[in-house]
Subunit: 324 residues, 2 copies
């Protein structure tokens, strides 16, 4: 198996590379080589097989032709600019999030290697009005350029797959909680912050109502979901070319209750309310829960609940230690 | 008002140009100039305002920049290659049906004229499995490259509209019945043929089961729907950037019954069954009926039934005369 990861320097890309390197296999087959690609050269990972790293500009179609010439068996296409940047720079958003995906598909078609392609889509493909629980057959009416670009990517992946040029699957990842590291400017940043900061001895603000409900998954489950997508049979992938990943639907209040139960009242007391109407407006437009029937039927993994997500963060990122 | 029609040499494009020329107004305002564009120079239409005709290759982005420089107030984008051709020639399908739409949007953005853009989409954006009556919020899972290209066009029109670069609306036209002229190789061709040929003294074959149900509209209602879309307020268009046009849901049997009622048993007896499994398979994947709630709410017109469609064809295309 020859594995290529586009966007390998990002949080998910790096964890995915480490996960595959550690297992040494993917989709039940031994990995022979892995190529890690990003704008800047990704860090290598220790592995029992050959690992190459490469900096590439995916807005250059020629760079994608060269990458496709590596003849991957599996491609994870995680490379994208984030929602806020795509909204602020319309041209660059379309160049990176749409044109590069199209050129990647054309390059893989040209290389005639017909790889399994795992494309990370986003819940941003959905736009209000939404039902409380969004069914798999609900239409995509994105309210951001990022969401439009991901929705178009899904359609391209499905059509190139139907024609047999790739064997693709688009996975809409839930919001990832708990993201390690520093807060960022994403509207969703606080969802990780209210768990991460108190555990690290720092105060955290809740900018929305505590009754606000959202669809989340841990970094581990996101990684395992991508690995699972890579291992689906051709028939399974053809049955659901684009699907919403399994998550858990929790309110902010439930997240804080779980933190209190896992880490105690002193740590939970580091959270305070600090309403931010701008963030509240954005978050109000997000889906609250999904049926995710296709992902369940196809055996995708799911988190065991909010407490399990917090315990995993403490184990994986804090070495089991809490700043009391 | 400056009106541009892309695809003005086609059946719908030509009827639309004639309709606007006859009215002299669009969206309640006098028309000052109309530009008719197609691969080959479209025929001019007699009009109380300036009519220009132009041959242009819309796969050339520069040609679209030149057209946008004409600074239209309303653009009807009807230009496309048909389903069968897009499936047979993958690259050309994407070049004409997707890239040209994107380049048109970029050209209009560059010209900063923010026109009302009416984009003709298709029921081919839908793919099986489908409910008996497809609601407006059902997802798009096209099973053809043509359908994928139209679905992507809808997303682009919506996003460029959300950003204020155009004020667009994508209208999924029902299958047009009765198409005047000769049969073509479209799988839907027989739906017009079973009405048109008997009225012209020619035998017609039914390649599917007579219980087969489909969603149709007359050429007149298709034209009036496009005109109606051009006249929607900005607020109305923003409420439904992509919508399914109003049609009537009829079985082949009901179509034949209506022909018998309008034209008599001798003419209806010119229809015979001639099962064609290939056509049957294609048609079985088509939507049978739509809720079309958005189109109804926005006041789009609808045919008065199958008999009215046949009577209109006789009046408009046969000068009221039937070959008995």
């Amino acid at each position: 198996m020859r594995i290529m990861i586009l966007g390998a320097a990002g949080m998910i890309g790096r964890k995915l590379a480490l996960r595959i390197a550690e297992a040494g296999t993917l989709a039940g087959k031994p990995v022979g080589a892995m190529l890690l690609v990003d704008r800047i050269t990704p860090q290598p990972v220790p592995a029992p097989f050959s690992v190459e790293t490469k900096a590439a500009d995916i807005t250059d179609p020629g760079a994608l032709v060269a990458l496709a010439g590596w003849r991957p068996d599996v491609v994870f296409h995680l490379a994208a600019i984030v929602s806020g940047e795509a909204e602020a720079d319309f041209e660059r958003g379309y160049a990176v999030n749409l044109d590069a995906t199209r050129h990647l598909l054309d390059a893989l078609k040209g290389a005639d290697c017909r790889p399994r392609l795992v494309f990370t889509s986003s819940l941003a493909v959905y736009g209000v009005p939404l039902p409380d629980v969004v069914p798999d057959d609900f239409n995509l009416t994105p309210r951001s350029s990022y969401g439009a670009q991901k929705a178009i990517g899904e359609l391209l992946v499905a059509d190139y797959s139907r024609k047999g040029y790739v064997d693709g699957i688009s996975l809409r990842l839930p919001t990832i909680v708990v993201r390690p590291g520093a807060p960022n400017r994403a509207a969703s940043s606080f969802l990780s912050g209210i768990i991460r900061e108190p555990l690290n001895g720092i105060a955290a603000a809740v900018p929305v109502k505590r009754s606000m409900r959202t669809w989340i998954a841990s970094p581990s489950i996101a990684i395992e979901s991508l690995v699972h997508a890579a291992g689906l049979t051709a028939e399974q992938a053809a049955s659901a070319r684009a699907l919403t990943g399994r998550g858990i639907s929790v309110t902010v209040e439930e997240m804080i209750d779980a933190l209190r139960a896992v880490a105690g009242p002193t740590i939970a007391a580091r959270i305070h309310d600090e309403p931010d109407p701008a963030i509240e407006r954005i978050v109000a437009s997000w889906p609250q829960a999904f049926a995710a029937d296709a992902a369940t039927r196809l055996g995708f993994p799911v988190d065991g609940g909010m407490k399990a997500i917090i315990e995993a963060y403490i184990a994986e990122e804090l070495g089991g230690t809490i700043a009391a």
